[in-house]
């Protein structure tokens, strides 16, 4: 057996061990360890990706018990692509914000931040690779705890309240997920996704237990939708994103909610089977809330005077896009949704870091009135913010444009009613995006006489500058070489179930 096949398991275990190890290290050492670990995880996953692209998918048996009894990891093209991508976003977010981590967090707790970062990476990788529903639940809870800690580690009143709200909503979501998994286990008698799938297919053919299965599907979808901040459940999101450390905000917005959405993909494709989902009308519901989120998130973002809150509300809209893609219930819609997971992650984490860079040269204020001219004071942060904003609006050559094209393409192949709604919603949402993002870009480049005393062309921390440059490159790469990634996602999805 080739060693590459064990890399996903190694990854998860090593991240877990390093998480524990970080708690006894000094903050500086913990930071180094965390960065090296994330880089190494990215490299290992890249090796797995290369192997999978060459040899095809495989399942990896954990322990000595074969399929229906033991635990399994499944590695396919889609999983490997997302794992590599998540590792690189994690690396860049931590690298970009590391300067502020030591500034914003008490000295004695600095290492614990990296414990949580490592745990977060563990849980994300486990959520991507696992083939077992209960394992998925356990790592969902680890993810919740790590995310809550990433918010509350900055000790001020706002983050505490934000963390409390986040934890409450998130625990409600995991409660629903847990009871859903329990009922599903009782109906089908399995915990491995593949075995559940065959049992669900048999039940669908015989027509038995349809009501419990529908209830389960509803409970689990609702739980994961709450956890990933789909529109009416987004109330915890703005506070959590706008008051936490920049790295935390970048990771929370770009990775945490995406891990849950990926688990939802797994539920739909591998556990229930997409035909079953469409028969039970679940996509229609997600489509409705997704479209509502696209519009409502953008409208709320327009009213924000605080830059980071605006970016946070824009996340609500972007999560809406992803759910709309799933809700179209055509293959292209899911491809667009997966691609948007990536393009949103690449743009949003960059926006949060750049916003921190901009407020840094404006006397630590996030208010638009103080941010005037900040783009001239810090050229790189201004450029990165503009690239991120343009990407979110959908200017060609950038990631956000490509995902909007994919969404439009998907809408064309959907049923007639959904096509109309999706197209109109896309158009309205794009205009609203443009309203607040272009306004923000204009604001940061408007010269401000009052701030003439502030220094010209301040230098960002070197690590942040490097991370921002990488993010810009990543965005342009996603926008221009999207066909490579789209092909990978397409092949990955076709072998997903």
């Amino acid at each position: 057996m080739e060693i590459v096949k064990s890399f996903p398991l190694f990854n998860i275990v090593i991240c877990l061990i390093c998480g524990v190890l970080s708690s006894v290290l000094k903050p500086k050492q913990a930071k180094g360890l965390s960065l090296v670990l994330t880089g190494a995880a990215g490299a290992m996953n890249a090796a797995v990706l290369a192997w999978v692209a060459r040899e095809g998918q495989y399942t990896y048996m954990m322990g000595h018990f074969p399929a229906p009894w033991g635990n399994e990891i499944r590695v396919g093209l889609l999983e490997a692509v997302l794992a590599v991508f998540f590792c690189s976003i994690m690396f860049l977010s931590v690298l970009g914000g590391e300067h502020y981590i030591s500034l914003d967090i008490e000295e004695s707790k600095g290492n614990l931040y990296f414990t949580m970062i490592n745990l977060m990476l563990t849980s994300l990788l486990a959520l991507i690779y696992t083939n077992d529903l209960f394992t998925a639940y356990v790592f969902v809870e680890i993810n919740t705890i790590a995310a809550g800690a990433l918010i509350m580690i900055r000790n001020n009143g706002h983050t505490l309240v934000a963390a409390a709200k986040y934890m409450i909503m998130s625990l409600i979501g995991s409660g629903l997920l847990l009871i859903g998994i329990t009922i599903l286990y009782d109906v089908t008698g399995h915990l491995l996704m593949v075995n559940i799938h065959s049992q669900v297919a048999a039940l669908a053919a015989s027509g038995e237990y349809q009501l419990p299965l529908t209830v389960t599907l509803g409970l689990m979808s609702a739980g994961l939708a709450i956890k990933s901040a789909l529109f009416p459940f987004h109330t915890w999101l703005p506070d959590a994103y706008s008051y936490s450390v920049p790295s935390s905000a970048a990771i929370l917005s770009s990775l945490v909610s995406k891990g849950y959405i990926f688990l939802l993909f797994k539920l739909f494709y591998r556990v229930f089977g997409f035909d079953f989902i469409v028969d039970h009308k679940t996509p229609n519901l997600l489509f409705f809330f997704g479209v509502a989120g696209m519009i409502a998130g953008s409208v709320m973002a327009i009213y924000q005077r605080d830059m980071r809150r605006m970016i946070a509300f824009s996340s609500v809209a972007q999560i809406g896009y992803i759910y709309m893609g799933i809700g179209l219930s055509v293959p292209m819609g899911t491809i667009a949704a997966v691609f948007h997971i990536m393009s949103h992650a690449a743009s949003k984490s960059m926006l949060f870091l750049a916003a921190k860079g901009l407020s840094d040269v404006s006397g630590d204020s996030k208010d638009f009135s103080d941010l005037r001219g900040s783009g001239c004071r810090s050229r790189l942060a201004g450029a990165a913010f503009s690239v991120g904003a343009f990407s979110m609006v959908g200017i060609p050559l950038l990631a956000g444009f490509t995902s909007k094209v994919y969404f439009a393409e998907a809408a064309l192949s959907a049923s007639r009613g959904k096509m109309g709604i999706a197209m109109v919603a896309l158009a309205i949402s794009t205009i609203l995006n443009a309203v607040y993002f272009i306004r923000a870009v204009i604001t940061i480049y408007t010269p401000n006489e009052e701030a003439a005393s502030m220094p010209e062309n301040c230098h960002l921390p070197k690590t942040m500058a490097a991370a921002l440059v990488c993010f810009i490159v990543l965005n342009v790469f996603l926008g221009t070489w999207s066909n490579v990634i789209e092909d990978a996602i397409r092949i990955g999805l076709s072998t997903f179930s």
Partner: protein, 131 residues
Amino acid sequence: MDNLFNNFYEAVAVILFGIGFTTLLFHRNMIKKIIGLNIMDTAVYLFLAAKGYIDGRRAPVPDGPDASRLVTDYINPVPSGLVLTGIVVSVSVTAVMLALTIRLYRRYHTLDIDRITILAKQEKYRETDRE
């Protein structure tokens, strides 16, 4: 109605889940929210344990050299394993929530989450705010 009494434990578990869920969602007191969380999780464990139990069989622990080796003598061990794992998870989540509640209480001297939200909004916020 017969179904309800045949599935007595499951029915009770679902009712308890509902009680816990609504307490966690709607109660304003943080401690009561955490109690709600625990009721909700415990309800799921009751559900699992009830489903794993098979009438007339023993716990899946073959004790002693002359214990039966037949699968048909024991109940399903998987739900018990799930309950144990679940308990560990819910204990850690409860610990995190309690720690968070202590910090909120020290800062705002109240456990009412609505009141805390209002108090936090009144605090002036600056990026460099540190303690």
